[in-house]
């Protein structure tokens, strides 16, 4: 620690402070600002040269003046890590927020996090049952996946995330998940909702929370998820935990990123967001997975609200390019009163194929999922046609599919907030029941051998033999 204090601030612009005539300062170094009113702010070096240093101030630059003292702490940002993080609530910069003592560090971990060597990764392939049929059947989650929830304001994404956190389990195993929860710019009300739910179910003791709320410093949000992921990596790869990271709301994170970009007068990419936002997001999302020789894992559930419900907006768009699928929440279904309002059509789990089937979920899973998807997609499309030409113009097959779309939404998608359906009896059997509303000859995605074995009408005859 150099400890030397400089009073050489020349410019202050948005969240940035420019100063000159320093000794050599490292890129990424942590900085303390000593304000004349006695308060202290924290920051990080964004650009450094012999002549000038640019510091991004996490708490914003209000009250900073040319007399403000600046101290360079001689190190990059590190988080004290230990198993003691579990059960704690920290603020967006990693300080206790629960009134408890400081974390007694077993180690100090660089929060930027090094990239996992692609050669050292292990393919994620263990199915996680969430107990939510739409997810388990159609966009199956596997341990080590990063699967964001694409939502929008006013939709129940938090309920869904919590339901997943409560119910997630590996079938046939009782390893529990540890939850690392990261709040970025959400309201106190939303935050309380999360905390109460975690408390209610006793999960809080098994969670580590990093909290930056709407009225906390916006720039601080840029480090909050890095702290959370650093904690997650430590717990997963040093202590063999299976960690479920929920972070919300990525949209607020991206806004902070844009703010810094604008203050630096960078050439923006699309819609004013920095050109490097893809890389920046990847450095968060890619901190998920499994690695060779370690028992733990990191599964990520980032939540983002799509501005204007627009999936092509840069925030969901760049996220979708990095994550291993997405769960899309639909305003239309929500307005119909369906919970969870998951639109399975634009939703996707890229790792599903590796996690389902015989010995993992059930042999007919893929077939059933394809069939549900196809029938619902066609039924939904027919709604549009019916609006123009009326039901009379439909043939028998189309009529059945049209009806199926409703059945699917009301009986398959819809379930209780505490309803935990098992994959086999709860979800797949239900799917077969509902599919039996369609003539078997139209169920072209189902293999005959599964029809013989699982179709409620076709199989019953057989079982009696």
């Amino acid at each position: 620690m150099s400890g030397k204090e400089y009073r050489t601030i020349t410019d202050v612009k948005g969240p940035l402070v420019f100063l000159n005539k320093t000794e050599p300062v490292s890129y990424g170094e942590i900085v303390q600002l000593m304000l004349s009113n006695g308060s202290i702010k924290n920051g990080q070096v964004l650009d450094t040269s012999d002549d000038q240093v640019i510091v991004q101030v996490f708490e914003g630059t209000a009250s900073v003046d040319r007399q403000t003292g600046v101290k360079f702490l001689g190190d990059v940002f590190k988080l004290p890590v230990s198993k003691g993080l579990i059960g704690r609530i920290l603020d967006g910069a990693g300080r206790p927020r629960d009134g408890g003592p400081d974390i007694v560090a077993d180690d100090m971990a660089d929060i930027i996090g090094a990239a996992i060597n692609p050669y050292s990764r292990q393919s994620p392939e263990s199915f996680i049952q969430t107990g939510i049929s739409a997810i388990d059947a159609c966009t199956s989650l596997v341990r080590g996946q990063k699967l964001p929830i694409f939502s929008a304001s006013g939709l129940p994404h938090n309920d869904i995330a919590l339901q997943i956190a409560r119910q997630a389990k590996l079938v046939g195993s009782d390893d529990d998940f540890v939850v690392v929860f990261c709040a970025m710019g959400i309201t106190a009300e939303e935050y309380n909702f999360f905390v109460h739910d975690l408390e209610r179910t006793g999960a809080l003791e098994n969670s580590a929370l990093f909290v930056n709320l709407a009225d906390d410093p916006a720039v601080e949000r840029l480090i909050t998820p890095r702290l959370a992921l650093t904690a997650a990596e430590y717990l997963a790869f040093e202590h063999d935990y299976h960690v479920l990271v929920i972070y919300t709301d990525m949209t607020n994170y991206c806004e902070s990123l844009r703010q810094i970009g604008a203050a630096r007068e960078e050439v923006p990419g699309r819609r004013g967001y920095p050109g490097y936002m893809y890389t920046d997001l990847a450095m968060l999302y890619e901190r998920a997975g499994l690695v060779k020789g370690k028992k733990g894992s990191i599964t990520q559930f980032p939540i983002l609200t799509m501005p204007g419900d627009d999936i092509t907006h840069p925030i969901p768009d760049l996220s979708g390019y990095i994550t291993e699928g997405q769960i899309v929440i639909s305003r239309e279904l929500h307005q119909k009163g369906i919970y969870p309002p998951i639109n399975v059509l634009p939703s996707l789990s890229r790792l599903m194929n590796a996690g389902i089937g015989d010995g993992k979920t059930r042999e007919d899973h893929k077939s059933v999922s394809d069939q549900l998807y196809a029938a619902y997609a066609q039924g939904k499309e027919l709604r549009g046609l019916v609006a123009i030409v009326g039901e009379d113009a439909l043939n028998e097959r189309d009529l059945q599919l049209l009806k199926f779309a409703d059945i699917f939404e009301h009986q398959f998608l819809r379930q209780g907030r505490d309803e935990d359906r098992s994959i086999s009896e709860g979800t797949l059997d239900l799917a077969w029941d509902l599919l039996s509303n369609i003539d078997t000859k139209y169920l072209v995605r189902l293999d005959q051998k599964w029809i013989d074995k699982y179709h409620p009408n076709e199989k019953s005859g057989k079982e009696e033999e």
Partner: protein, 580 residues
Amino acid sequence: MSNENGLIYRISGPVVTAVGISPRMYEVVRVGDEGLMGEVIELHGDQSVIQVYEETSGISPGEPVIRTGQTLSVQLGPGLLTQIYDGIQRPLPKLEETMGVFITRGVDADGLDLEREWEFNATVKKGDEVSSGHVIGTVQETETIEHRVMVPPNVSGKVKSVKSGTFNIKETVCVLEDGSEIAMMQEWPVRHPRPFVQKYAPDVPLITGQRILDFLFPLAKGGTAGIPGPFGSGKTVTQQQLAKWSDAQIVVYIGCGERGNEMTEVLDEFPHLIDPNTNKPLMNRTVMIANTSNMPVAAREASVYTGITIAEYFRDMGYNVALMADSTSRWAEAMREISSRLEEMPGEEGYPAYLSSRLAEFYERAGRVQTLAGSDGSVSVIGAVSPPGGDISEPVSQGTLRIVKVFWGLDAGLARQRHFPAINWLNSYSLYPQALDQWYRENIAPDFPEVRTEISTLLQIESELQEIVQLVGSDALPIDQQLTLEVARMIREFFLQQNAFHDVDTFSDLDLQYHMAKAILTFQEEAKKAIAGGGQLEDVVNVPARTDLMRGRFEKGYAERISDLVSEMSKQIDASMEAN
């Protein structure tokens, strides 16, 4: 070399400015106390601007910068195949050995194993005249690939001595009369295309086993293709399918700024997949480059050059090489990021003004050539493009489409319907069919081009009819048009859709593709006859043998059975008419 040692003046992300040295453009330098690898990308008064291939946090102004005198190069020789590298040719298994599972920094690693010994068989003898590119001996590099050791560029003369035997790749195996010593390894600067005698027009298809690609929008060996599409539309699956099944002899797969798990998948799968052309594991012919999205962007920028240089090197041996880059957009973004740190004047959407010329230079390195040794080799390049929001009016898509000859347009709508591969048959194109038709006629069937035309015409007609159906429903169409819709549906569901994850359906050879297309036309023919003879469309469409024909493609031995299935279908359609 002048002023070998300088000092860091400024650090801004991956870009470092040094003073006190005057290196050449694109020279490799060592940056900071840890000696991080960097490359000079701009000279500016007494300042040298360097892109650094490793994370720069914690580095300070005043730390040293040291010249190496080298430009960014790759090591070429036996040992490339089956290897997986980062963007600057550091073997990832080697990095794991020295750093563990996380990639930290400041570690160098040779691209090739300098210790390993190979069995070298000389193919020239004392007194032979040899020159650059000339093969002087061979090494069985993997089970299926013979590595041809070539005289490095700018070396030629009469062989003074040459020896077969077991050597490492730095040992001299051949000496020329002028004293030049030749070893199995050579180096080549990645930003320079390797020399060849001349380019030929491609006239042989690269067969991929993917029906919509081979049949409707073929790529030629030595050709270029772009695959733009929004996320989730199938770029990566398509690229991986090409890496698995295309009939190239060598495959270079570049994961450029994409997901880590996708590379793991390739690593897990390829050693177990059998190449239909050699019956040996696909890994034998594959070189992988993985510079994922969270690895340093400067190394991502370099990764495509590393890849294409390796591809050219195998082409020089006379091989047909296929290179996939997933995704070129991430490469372009790396250029944009570096350019913006340099405070260059931006072009469209913040990309540097030289974006389109860089894209063009890259794709220009593809081609079928006469090599320096006089043989025929090719590099085919297939680039994925990731347009923001799926809108291809953006600069990377547009810059790519101006150059490539094949456009496989992925369509979010088709992907949403789970029609895979989600390649839009109405707006995709290939400019190669004309050059390839001769080959198809001679090697597959004399009427191959005509069958293709019929199939694509049916799809065109369908799209026009669909517009009417949207307004009035299909029952309102005359019977012959309803039949056309059924035939087109058969083309889509039976022929164009192909499940990459199904053991059998994942690959169809060109013969089978032709027979499947013919089967559809036979159905059309027979159905027309039956309907003219009073048969019902409903009955004709629902003959069980047609379902068998369509489902049969998922079963092994389909190629042998298809003609029987077609005859059976014809018989049943005939019978359905009589039943009326």
